[in-house]
Symmetry: C2
Subunit: 168 residues, 2 copies
């Protein structure tokens, strides 16, 4: 697709060091609360899918997620993964990163947010930033065309701090 060897994003998608286990655990707890609030059923496959995304802490392709699910005794066919992922996206517990044909756990479930994704072109790390200001500008531009924005995919490609520091 883009760059070639792809350094594994050990720095993690947030562009900052942190306790992954704790971070993932916190987020999962918040996601469960949010699912309950919405009356959405976080079934085993769905919950496990979300956990996989949280543990990986990066954007994953549907088939990559499927492999993990299959290895754990869930179904082996694409729809298994796509359905779980779609459910998560639909309920704001995960996001779709179109540039990478991939999915990532939402780091701020329930906070009603419009995310922007910052995607490093070198290590593929993905950070979810607050899009409120961006979204504001977007709504205004759209209004000028008589267009009513309902959803937005905002994805920026560039260099993350770590890769920039290594002088890419």
């Amino acid at each position: 697709m883009s760059a070639d060897p792809k350094i594994p994003p050990e720095g993690g998608p947030a562009f900052a060091d942190h306790d992954h286990a704790q971070c993932a655990g916190n987020t999962l707890a918040r996601a469960e609360a949010e699912a309950a609030r919405l009356g959405a059923r976080l079934t085993p496959v769905r919950k496990r899918t979300l956990e996989i995304l949280l543990e990986a802490h990066r954007a994953m392709g549907a088939y990559e997620v499927l492999d993990r699910l299959a290895a754990e005794g869930f179904g082996h066919q694409p729809p298994v993964a796509y359905r779980a992922l779609e459910f998560l996206v639909e309920h704001g517990l995960a996001h779709r990163v179109r540039r990478l044909n991939a999915f990532a756990a939402c780091m701020h479930p329930g906070e009603d947010h419009a995310p922007v994704f910052l995607i490093c072109r070198v290590c593929d790390a993905v950070a979810e930033a607050d899009a409120a200001p961006v979204r504001g500008a977007l709504d205004q531009v759209a209004a000028g065309h008589g267009f009513a924005v309902e959803r937005a995919n905002l994805e920026a490609l560039g260099l993350c701090p770590a890769c920039a520091a290594r002088g890419e």
Copy 2:
């Protein structure tokens, strides 16, 4: 995907009535000038590909473009279309609309612009709006994360004026 029968976007992607032939002709002329300025070779396949996008005046899938090219005596294999489209995108003469897995001619070639796409979820019409303000907000948010934006895909999904008026 989204809505089902898809009303053909006869209103055109600019959400406004206008003379398509003239609009396409103007844009093609500007694109040719821009290609010349860049020293980019607008060969027959490439030029025809751009014309097809301009005539259609909407986002088209690569295979849809390929069918048109094949029918006109160019190659019949996917790379033919993908290469031409990639060339156009690379030189700013067309854009890729990831949400639709499609491509659209650039309506403002040479104007060094950061486009936002306004995509109607009912009729799939695509308008290219000026993203300068949006891009500014984005750069600022990204800077807060130490992230340097190089390119951005900004795509909004919603209702175009025509479909909104028809009360969707």
